[in-house]
Amino acid sequence: MAMEMRLPVARKPLSESLGRESKKHLVVPGDTITTDTGFMRGHGTYMGEEKLIASVAGSVERVNKLICVKALKTRYNGEVGDIVVGRITEVQQKRWKVETNSRLDSVLLLSSMNLPGGELVRLGQGVLVQVSPSLVKRQKTHFHDLPCGASVILGNNGFIWIYPTPEHKEEDAGGFTANLEPVSLADREVISRLRNCIVSLVTQRMMLYDTSILYCYEASLPHQIKDILKPEIMEEIVMETRQRLLEQEG
């Protein structure tokens, strides 16, 4: 059994050169955001002594005159239209309890399953990664079949499900069938690599969406799957991902 030992290395601060053009305005609770009274206070702020003060730690977001602070690390707050990935934690007669990284357990009424318009998918085989909900970028679709051979569901609640891309989309099975076919080694490798990529993106505080995940996956290809999680490699591939994303944005 091969073993690798490494000595502690001080973490280098992230190089500023690759930062975004517009630096995020970060605040901690108690920081004064503005003293201008012409602004409206939104979530995560409060008024104190004619000043707008942050009540959570996070980045300041502005819509015209409305100022909100979006917490960097938070439990998930549900919104209408969100896609969430949840884990059933309790089965009762008429409802299931679902853990969705929210402040309270969510309740799934069995009577509301299979309602028209609702999309309830029972997930079969795959890997769950839990990240901070603030790192999942809001998009039109959160179901992605990546070209690398696996699919991801980026739940708005920070639960990410990686699973082999189904060959044929199952229709109307209502999630009753569990595909217990063994997943091929190649698929499993892709899934593990994706998982490690997502973890490294999260460690480096990158937003998660289909492009960033895919670029990171491609950047990680020269390395072995198990090596991805080594800090210096993590840093390297994320740096490369960043570079490509910046290029793409132009």
Binding site: M40, T45, E79, K94, D172
Partner: protein, 1200 residues
């Protein structure tokens, strides 16, 4: 190791610092240590590398010197703890309810207990959250009315609820379940299920096998039934079902009370229960209403309700079916007496001790019905969004929406329900709300019978059939077109006491149109006109008549009606202002007796007592009181709601003799009058003045004639100006809506044209011809649009004319009108000499069947026989070709001569020489080029190098060749077949057009959709990827003016203002009456108005930039700040009476504006919550409360 010289230190003094010098390594480096007892020297290479003591380090780092701690590196400061999973909890399940009970068996006479027997319990564990059955126990009293959204509804009728026989057969089937083979693997309703077939790994389905095996030892001798009971439990919906053993004692006990009552009721009535609906798909059964019901009183010896009058046949029929507990559909005119059916149902329900629900589409109608039924039955309740009165009553009146929510929430009221009456059910056509009716119809449980009341609809049977199929029950359709009170339509031309008798019958009660009456009216009018002309000179009385003239007309009309006892009368006027004007004009009129006056006075006192003191002194209230005392009334949207209700109530009591109303009065609310007068036949529908539609006319005219009081209803059309055209009148009064012919049927009926043999290229020939015509038209259009083309079309140019009258006739242009949008070419055209004796053969026969010559060249028209000419004003489209020839003509002279000869006097005069020369020249040209004169080539002569023109020219030439080569024209059957084909093609084209309209209607709006999305994107409501952002979500919360309100909110234009100021500003968005904000506004409001305008302008600009078809001015112009001051003062608590002085807006409109404003404040409050801005939310809440007070939100009089 090297021995170095040692420093000799004195023994440590207590005051000495405990320092010790240590030589580190061998390089001569020294360190001072404060640790006593440390070694004096170290290894040659210094201290060995070692991991620092973590605890020490942490202490050092975080506790003793925390100053370095970053404020901003907060990633790891917030932690969460993973919960402990307990997967075993997933496997636990609650126990099943006890399925059986012990029951004592007693001696039938002594009552002595003989023994105990185990009985199976049914309907155990039913509750509102587990079962759809009516057998579930009722919920708590607090929820009996509204139910609870988490409860299940009751089982909808018409769907397959398992019956006893069903169950017993299923039971048998279940007994034979072979657990090895017959188990379902696909859940019902799914296409795929669990596949238990052993896969690669030989994994047997252990659960199934073991289950059946386990059951064997459990056989305790309870019989097979118990076993199936236990096995069948998980899958089947046994909870809802009734006992498996038919006829067992518990069944009778459990059957609900109302069923028994109903059974008794239906058996009391002689006709036996109708047999089970036959399997055929005919659910609607039309009922014959022409023959009288002779044995009505024998069949119903004790009717539940009796009227002072004898019911009509259709009412009797309906009552008969009601007694049998059938569902009925009654379609009749508004005044025909559908209410009788509803009343009988209510009475029947009261007799049966059950309940009735009456639903109406309009709140106002609900209020009115509440009052009516309350007067009749007493035990009546009302449930609307605003009020809730006597919810325990046996008859509940509500809007359809409320019934829907009660059904979905499983309200216990549904249990007692016997009838649901849907009034005005034709509202199901409504695009927005119709779905509510559908849902309610679907969700009604089986024990509820349906009564549908509707206006006359052409497809009553079809509609009833749909409902019948839905509910699997017969719907008896009772449809009558007869009016109980027939209408007579008159024209009135009088305008002074002398002429007050000028009332001419136009359409009698049997529906015959009297032309004589029409001409008499025209004569009467003409006579007056000429007299008028004599008195005042030749001046035409074009003006429609000012207020003074109106007054004269009304005074004499009302006097005439009064003498003939034809009051009360409703006068429909299509403008609020004229309504008021006319009513106020009749100052001298007093139509009430003194006793009536006191009655009116008392009623007014009682109603107005509910208003605030100052509100009772409102000018409108005072004015209306004064009018009402004299028996006059006004009813339109500008009137305060409470006054409108007073007027309605007094009118229905017959105390208002003359009511001036706008169209709104005809809607819904049933208020018949003796006579209906139309002030005018034309109304302004928002954009233009137009004639009344037949439907509108019928709706309003239908208000005439009170049932049981009047033999006929009188409808009078005022002819203040001239008498309307007879055709218009006829169309308006007699029109029936025509059903659209089905094109497919027509197509199917057409003969397939013969396309064999020589005719093989007939279809192609047709399409070539069409295309050629189209291409030529296109080119011609281009030519005329072009500068050169226009230049060529000057006076003297010879053209080929092709239109309705002339077919390829040569003409010469005489004059060109200069205004560009609709250019007119006055042209001298060759034509046949009119043959007066034989008008049929006049002009060339229209070219029904085009031969190649017709299509390709311009086979010029050559007059047969003597040639004549005419002058035609041609549109650009009439010019088929522009020839190269130019004639020298004197256009003005010819025109002058021609117009002179049009007059009868000069008809016989010969035309001028100039005319004859021109005609001769044209004729010569026509003879010289029978196949068409040389035309100007668009490309070469007119310098039109446009691609489309050049290509069109080439294509046209190609087509010409093709057409020349066509075979089919040589066939003798060509003309007939061609006609057939053309008819077919035309219908096909029409069909394509229609189906395009049907299928791609949304596509027509697609560009606009994209433009609107672009607007949202520009404003930042959605991002590039189309994801809705925060601003977009806020906009979703608004009910109207989404963009403007959201922008205002995010601009922080509102938060800084006080609630009343916000309300005042927002009034600009909901106010409908135009007007400018006053100058006396406080400066904050003025600035606010400017700010709102600026924001609106910005949005408008964005919209224009994105290509939307609305200019900035239009968008900003939608804002009306006329009521800013009024709303501001109202929100500050000013009494309503003082508001009137602030603006000229009618009070009713002010009230409506404030009502809508309150709604808007609510939606803004919701939006403020969404962005987490509590201050604005609180302000909006305050604003809404400030607005909702006094007269504006006074409860309806009908509910008092």
């Amino acid at each position: 190791m090297m021995e170095t010289e040692r420093l000799v230190l004195p023994p440590p003094d207590p005051l000495d610092l405990p320092l010790r010098a240590v030589e580190v390594g061998c390089t001569g480096r020294w360190e001072l240590l404060n640790a006593p007892g440390a070694p004096e020297s170290t290894l040659p290479h210094g201290l060995p590398p070692c991991a620092p003591d973590l605890q020490q380090e942490a202490k050092q780092l975080f506790l003793s010197s925390p100053a370095w701690l970053p404020l901003h590196g907060v990633e790891h400061s917030a932690r969460k703890w993973q919960r402990k999973m307990n997967p075993w909890s997933l496997l636990s399940a609650l126990g099943a309810p006890v399925p059986s009970d012990l029951q004592a068996q007693r001696h039938p006479t002594t009552g002595q207990i003989l023994g105990y027997k185990e009985v199976l319990l049914e309907n155990t564990n039913l509750s509102a959250t587990t079962s759809l059955s009516l057998r579930r126990p009722p919920g708590p009293i607090s929820q009996s009315l509204w139910g609870n959204p988490t409860q299940y509804p009751f089982w909808p009728g018409g769907m397959d609820e398992p019956t006893i026989t069903d169950l017993s057969t299923r039971e048998e089937a279940e007994e034979e379940v072979d657990f090895e083979k017959d188990l379902l693997t696909v859940p019902p309703g799914f296409k795929k299920g669990v596949d238990f077939a052993p896969k690669d790994r030989p994994a047997p389905a252990p659960g199934l096998l073991s289950l059946s095996r386990l059951l064997e030892p459990l056989d305790l001798g309870g019989g097979d039934e118990d076993e199936t009971e236990a096995v069948g439990q998980p899958g089947s919906r046994r909870g809802d079902t009734v006992s498996a053993s038919p006829g067992s004692a518990p069944l009778v006990r459990a059957s609900s009370l109302e069923d028994l009552v109903l059974k008794e009721a239906s058996t009391a009535v002689s006709p036996p229960e109708p047999p089970k609906p036959p399997p055929q798909e005919q659910w609607a059964i039309p009922v014959d209403v022409t023959s009288p019901v002779g044995d009505f009183y024998r069949l119903i010896p004790q009717p539940a309700f009796q009227w002072p009058f004898e019911p009509d046949v259709f009412q009797k029929q309906a009552i008969l079916h009601l007694e049998r507990h059938d569902s009925v559909f009654v379609a009749a005119h508004t005044s025909a007496g559908k209410t009788v059916v509803a009343e009988y149902a209510i009475a029947l329900a009261q007799k049966h001790m059950t309940r009735t629900i009456y639903t109406s589409p309009i709140k106002a109608l609900s209020n009115q019905k509440f009052r009516d039924f309350r007067n009749t039955f007493g035990d009546v309740g009302l449930l609307t969004g605003d009020v809730q009165l006597h919810p325990e009553a046996s008859c509940l009146i509500m809007t359809t929406e409320i019934l829907r929510s009660m059904l979905y929430s499983g309200s216990d009221v549904i249990r007692d329900l016997e009838w649901v009456i849907f009034d005005e059910v034709h509202y199901i056509n409504d695009a927005e709300r119709g779905v509510v009716w559908e849902e309610v119809l679907i969700m009604l449980p089986d024990h509820v019978s349906i009564i549908l009341l509707s206006a006359t609809v052409p497809n009553a049977l079809e509609f009833a059939d749909w409902i019948g199929r839905l509910k699997r029950r017969h719907i008896y359709v009772i449809s009558t077109v007869a009016r109980p009170v027939p209408l007579e339509h008159y024209l009135f031309t009088g305008n002074s006491p002398k002429t007050q008798g000028e009332l001419f019958l136009l359409l009698d009660s049997r529906g015959a149109f009297h032309t004589k009456g029409y001409y008499a009216a025209v004569e009467a009018k003409k006579e007056r006109m000429s007299k008028h002309a004599q008195t005042f000179g030749a001046k035409q009385p074009t003006h429609q008549g000012g207020p003074a003239q109106d007054r004269g007309v009304y005074l004499c009309l009302l006097a005439s009606l009064r003498t003939r006892a034809q009051l009360p009368v409703v006068v429909f006027t299509f403008s609020r202002g004229r309504c008021d004007e006319q009513a106020s004009g009749l100052t001298s009129l007093d139509l009430t007796t003194s006793s009536e006056k006191s009655e009116i006075h008392l009623f007014l006192q009682r109603c107005l007592a509910r208003l605030r003191g100052s509100d009772r002194q409102l000018p409108q209230v005072l004015h209306m009181s004064e009018l009402l005392h004299r028996g006059l009334g006004v009813h339109h949207s500008g009137i305060l709601p409470i006054l409108k209700e007073i007027v309605e109530m007094l009118f229905s009591r017959g105390l208002v003799k003359v009511l001036f109303a706008t169209e709104t009065f005809a809607m819904g609310v049933n208020m018949p009058a003796r006579t209906v007068v139309f002030d005018s036949m034309r109304k302004h529908d928002g954009s233009t003045f137009r004639d009344l539609l037949p439907g509108e006319y019928v709706q309003m005219a239908g208000r005439a004639g009170r049932r049981g009081l009047d033999p006929t209803g009188t409808v009078i059309l005022l002819c203040k100006g001239r008498v309307p055209e007879m055709a218009d009148l006829h169309r308006m009064m007699m029109a029936h809506e025509q059903a659209l012919a089905e094109l497919t049927k027509r197509l199917g009926a057409l003969e397939e044209p013969d396309t064999t043999g020589q005719l093989v290229d007939l279809p192609e020939y047709y399409s070539w011809g069409e295309e050629l015509t189209e291409t030529r038209g296109l080119i011609q259009q281009r030519i005329i649009d072009s500068v050169n083309g226009l230049k060529s079309l000057s006076a003297g140019r010879v053209v080929v004319v092709k239109n309705q009258e002339h077919h390829n006739a040569l003409g010469v242009i005489l004059q060109v009108s200069s205004n560009s949008p609709s250019r007119v070419f006055t042209t001298l055209v060759l034509c046949d000499k009119p043959m007066s004796e034989d008008p049929q053969e006049k002009g060339p026969a229209s070219p029904d069947v085009p031969y190649p010559d017709d299509l390709v060249g311009f086979k010029l028209f050559l007059p047969e026989g003597p040639c004549d000419h005419t002058v035609a004003k041609l549109q650009p489209g009439d010019v088929a070709a522009i020839t190269t020839k130019v004639l020298r003509v004197n256009g003005e002279k010819i025109l002058e001569d021609f117009s002179k000869r049009q007059q009868p006097k000069f008809k016989k005069e010969p035309p001028l020489a100039a005319v004859t020369t021109a005609v001769q020249e044209l004729l010569r040209l026509a003879q010289a080029y029978p196949a068409g004169p040389p035309t100007l080539d668009p490309v070469n002569d007119l310098q039109l190098k446009d691609v489309s023109v050049v290509e069109g020219g080439l294509r046209a030439r190609k087509l010409e060749e093709l057409i020349r080569g066509a075979q089919c024209v040589h066939s003798p059957r060509f003309p007939a077949q061609y006609l057939k084909l053309r008819e077919r093609m035309q219908i096909q084209k029409e069909m394509e057009r229609l189906s395009f309209l049907l299928s791609d209607q949304s596509l027509l709006l697609l560009p606009e959709y994209h433009q609107r999305v672009e607007v949202l994107r520009t404003l930042g409501y959605v991002d590039e990827a189309g994801t809705v952002k925060l601003a977009g979500r806020v906009a979703c919360a608004m009910s109207s003016h989404e963009l403007l309100l959201t922008e205002l909110m995010f601009d922080n234009a509102l938060s800084a203002l006080r609630p009343e100021e916000i309300a005042a500003l927002l009034s600009g968005l909901v106010c409908q009456s135009s007007g400018d904000a006053g100058d006396q506004l406080p400066s904050t409001l003025k600035q606010g108005v400017e700010r709102v305008r600026a924001v609106a302008k910005r949005i408008g600009e964005v919209q224009v930039a994105c290509g939307l078809n609305q200019t900035v001015e239009e968008f900003v112009g939608e804002l009306n700040f006329g009521l800013v001051e009024v709303v501001y003062e109202w929100a500050r608590g000013m009494p309503f009476s003082e508001l009137a002085g602030l603006s000229g807006t009618p009070e009713g409109l002010v009230v409506r504006c404030i009502q809508r404003l309150a709604e808007m404040c609510r939606s803004l409050r919701g939006a403020a919550r969404l962005v987490g801005e509590p201050v604005l939310g609180a302000k909006m809440e305050t604003a809404a409360t400030l607005l909702r007070r006094d007269i504006v939100f006074a409860a309806s009089l009908y509910t008092q």
